[in-house]
């Protein structure tokens, strides 16, 4: 008997226990009275509320948005607070918030995009001038005689003062004849100067910050989730009756990916296909532990599907490496690389590299909470992309977008994992089977790790032709995998002018493992490949790795690259002698340059390592220099560089997922190790590479590129061994 039909019992049993009504606070779904613009309100108590359209995943986006407003508003920092911009209102008002940025940054990403900064600066400036106009009307004096600073309006002539809050209601209704001009950057007093404590720090250290995992609602049920262990597999059989009597159990929910869903009615930054539901079962109970125990006891049979063809990790790696030996789809061709290879003379350097699947391993396991009623949906979610969350909720429930409300929570780590929204898809797929009750769906750590949207496994074969002077005249990259990202390969300086003849080809393998963005997508593998390989070219040319890179960059029109290299070289003691078994390695890469100089963020690193003859590796020190143009918050920049370096370090030293009969093997931190306090090398971040060019580009991703290859190149310097795969802990580093 196919027990899937038991679902009927499941749902009706719940409906009987329902009938609960919730009053849900969603006060800012429409314009509020104290609103100057949708981005900004000022209350009569002087409180300035900045609405932030970027989830706070730990990079300080909320605080940065508040600083940007405060720069022009002239309010006291202690009066500022933030809340998340409501995506429902954005939909209802035709992109109120979204039009201030491109698709990626809008309700995701970072806070220092040019358009976002301009919008927030303008919101602050406009509110300031309207406050002045209101004070001028109150005092019947010319507006030019009024100054605004620290949340106080002062009439210079008479010395009279008003607090912002005293005229806020009046000012909110003032219409200016012209929007004020923004201050030139040179006159900024907060941006680039101050580094306040992040606004949510106080709540975090008291345990009060509400992450997705901390949502508590009246009548809330908990669900423990299990998706098909081989991704893309299907539920074959489940015996819901077997757990019906277990303590606290309300129901067993089956998620069927083939069930009809609603129309796609809301604009989304990525295709909703990336969030496609997986075949799954969930147990719903009064408490999480009850749900989890019942899920563990639930008899389930899965049909593995095509993924089961991949019996071992080695089988997969071999297939990926073999695919790089044949010509494949041309992704980019500049000059004529094949003709250069066919020309006699010079020497050829060739090597194959591979990076494995990696999981984001956010400290907050995947989770989310939803209340699906007949005509309204509420979702409380630690999203990295709130607009994606909204569009998915609309599609999954079939409820019209105007009745869908997303309540963004803090996010316990993103790193790209919570962008595509497969998590909220599953939350809604479960919750819609339990209508009228809020359901908090929790992935166990094991479920989170084994149901990732992973950094893709990728292999590459790189071939270079070096001219008589040792410099490359042609470079060919043939890579393979599935779900790959091009960033950091086709858009690099190497492939965009440094080498006259380049050819990039890619092969797609029939892999079933689901992939997604992982801190510096594409770039996190490509930087390792290319910067290790350039080191191999330098060695073949008999050149110092730093000198070789500087020669390569000699004609590159962005001098900050060389400046970053020279900064890390100087700070790290590059060139100083090291005993055998110790060495330094260098690497440089750029995140999001799009093939252009003076774009994206350039990041150079030097690593110093020691390797015992038995092959035990220790990373002693990492020096990092960078160029993102300009900076608005020195301490936040440092935090991202430090964190990004640690992330790149762990990825390169430790991280790899294995496959067994199509399943992911590793499920928790004892199998997928994380660096801890005692493992930390000294990480030193230097500002000497900064160019001052007019841009404020990202800092979270850039260090993830050069740290790994700098270590691999240092291992070569220390031992003479070239390491062409990560993680390094799995490589034989022994030397004699």
């Amino acid at each position: 008997m196919n027990r899937l039909n038991r679902r009927t019992f499941v749902v009706s049993a719940l409906a009987a226990g329902g009938g609960l009504t919730l009053s849900i606070s969603d006060a800012h779904a429409t314009r509020t009275a104290d609103e100057f613009t949708p981005w900004l309100t000022i209350g009569s108590d002087d409180t300035v509320t900045v609405r932030v359209a970027t989830p706070e995943i730990g990079n300080g986006a909320m605080t940065q948005c508040a600083m940007t407003v405060a720069e022009e508003l002239g309010c006291a920092w202690s009066h500022i607070r933030t809340e998340f911009a409501p995506v429902n209102r954005n939909y209802m008002e035709g992109d109120t918030f979204g039009k201030a940025d491109d698709y990626l940054v809008y309700f995701g990403g970072r806070s220092t995009g040019a358009l976002r900064m301009e919008t927030l600066l303008q919101a602050g400036a406009s509110a300031r001038e309207r406050l002045k106009a209101a004070a001028a009307a109150r005092w019947k004096v010319p507006v030019g005689e009024i100054e605004a600073d620290e949340s106080v309006l002062t009439h210079r002539v008479s010395g009279r003062t008003l607090r912002y809050g005293e005229v806020a209601a009046l000012a909110a209704n003032v219409t200016l004849a012209h929007e004020p001009a923004l201050k030139p950057q040179a006159q900024w007093t907060l941006l680039g100067k101050a580094a306040p404590s992040k606004l949510n720090n106080a709540d975090i250290v008291m345990g009060k910050a509400q992450y997705g995992m901390d949502v508590r609602l009246p009548g809330m049920l908990y669900a423990a989730l299990m998706q098909a262990p081989v991704q893309g597999g299907r539920l074959q059989w489940v015996d819901a009756e077997a757990v019906r009597g277990m303590p606290g159990v309300h129901s067993v929910v089956v998620v069927d990916p083939t069930e009809p869903r609603g129309p796609r009615q809301a604009k989304a930054p990525f295709t909703l296909d990336y969030s496609a539901p997986q075949s799954a079962v969930a147990v719903v109970a009064d408490h999480y532990w009850q749900a989890r125990k019942a899920l563990e006891a639930l008899p389930v049979v899965w049909e593995a599907g095509d993924g089961a063809q991949w019996k071992t990790t080695d089988q997969l790696k071999t297939a990926a490496l073999e695919a790089c030996e044949q010509p494949s789809k041309v992704e980019k061709s500049v000059g004529d690389a094949e003709a250069a290879f066919a020309t006699p003379g010079g020497r050829t350097v060739e090597a194959a590299y591979l990076t494995p699947y990696c999981d984001h391993a956010t400290m907050e396991p995947l989770n989310g909470t939803a209340l699906v009623a007949k005509d309204r949906v509420d979702v409380w979610h630690p999203a990295q992309q709130t607009q994606m969350t909204f569009a998915i909720a609309v599609e999954e429930t079939g409820v019209p977008p105007q009745n869908v409300h997303i309540h963004q929570t803090f996010v316990g780590g993103g790193f790209g994992r919570r962008v595509f929204g497969d998590d909220v898809r599953m939350v809604l797929a479960v919750a819609r089977k339990v209508p009228g009750r809020p359901v908090h769906v929790i992935w166990s750590r094991e479920e989170s790790m084994r149901q990732g949207r992973y950094r893709p496994l990728q292999a590459v074969k790189l071939t270079a032709r070096l001219a008589d002077d040792g410099m490359p005249v042609a470079l060919r990259a043939r890579y393979s995998g599935r779900g790959l990202f091009p960033m950091g390969m086709s858009d690099t300086a190497l492939m965009s002018g440094l080498i006259p003849n380049v050819r990039i080809e890619s092969a797609t393998l029939p892999l079933h493992i689901l992939t997604g963005p992982y801190r510096g997508p594409g770039y996190n593998s490509h930087a390792f490949f290319l910067e290790s390989f350039i080191d191999e070219c330098a060695a073949a040319a008999g050149a110092d790795p730093l000198d070789y890179r500087l020669r390569l960059l000699a004609k590159w029109p962005d001098p900050a690259w060389a400046k970053c290299l020279q900064t890390v070289a100087k700070e790290s003691g590059w060139g100083e002698r090291t005993p055998r078994g110790e060495g330094r390695g260098i690497a440089i890469s750029n995140w999001s340059m799009g093939g252009k100089p003076r774009a994206g963020t350039t990041c150079a690193a030097v690593a110093r390592v020691a390797v015992t003859p038995q092959g035990e590796l220790s990373v002693k020190q990492i020096d990092v220099a960078f160029d993102c143009g300009r900076i608005v918050n020195r301490d936040a920049v440092l935090a991202q560089l430090e964190g990004g370096s640690v992330f790149g370090l762990n990825m390169s030293l430790n991280e790899a997922l294995n496959i067994e009969n199509g399943r992911i093997v590793e499920g928790n931190f004892h199998e997928y190790p994380m660096l801890r306090m005692a493992d930390m090398p000294k990480i030193r971040c230097h500002f000497g590479g900064l160019s001052g060019h007019d841009r404020f580009t990202e800092l979270g991703e850039p260090p993830v590129g050069p740290v790994g290859p700098a270590i691999a190149n240092a291992i070569f310097a220390a031992t003479g061994k070239r390491i062409r795969q990560t993680p390094f802990r799995n490589q034989d580093l022994a030397w004699s």
């Binding site: 008291m206 762990n650 928790n668 306090m677």
Partner: protein
């Protein structure tokens, strides 16, 4: 079945299976969500609380085995004025912040045992995981709090 435990100085009766990990008792039954679920196997330390003053990983302690007073992050201070909390805020230690309450509970236990810890003491006592990579600032925060206490 009801079990009497003392949490943050309050005597409470918890109606949960005795095998339920203290972590989930705190979070789901008592609403003390400052104690975090990270791994469930005692690896990451996000769930660190004090049991009779000693730091323990609450995911590894079944309710039935709770035989001493429990202190959670909610009672580290009631207003954020604990020297560690002040140091964490002023040094901008947290990034995503999810693991930080566990670190703070481990650090507080360390400072009670060793008021002025060395780097090696910190390495040995703070074995928690932070995926954002805030380790260097955590170390600085412990030193700052220790110095403040001495003063």
């Amino acid at each position: 079945m009801s079990k009497a435990i003392t949490v943050n100085g309050r005597a409470l009766a918890v109606d949960a299976d005795s095998e339920t990990p203290l972590l989930w008792v705190l979070r789901d039954h008592l609403g003390l969500t400052g104690t975090k679920y990270g791994c469930g196997i005692g690896q990451c330390g996000a769930c660190t609380v004090h049991l009779d003053g000693a730091p323990v990983r609450s995911c590894q302690i079944p309710l039935g085995a709770v035989d001493a007073p429990v202190t959670t992050i909610e009672a580290l201070s009631f207003d954020g004025s604990h020297p560690l909390q002040l140091a964490w805020v002023s040094l901008n230690v947290p990034q995503c912040g999810y693991c930080q309450t566990g670190f703070l509970m481990a650090a507080d236990a360390l400072l009670k045992a060793i008021p002025n810890p060395s780097d090696a003491d910190i390495d040995a006592a703070l074995t928690n995981i932070c995926r954002c990579g805030t380790y260097d600032r955590i170390r600085a925060g412990v030193h700052r709090a220790a110095a403040g206490r001495e003063a």
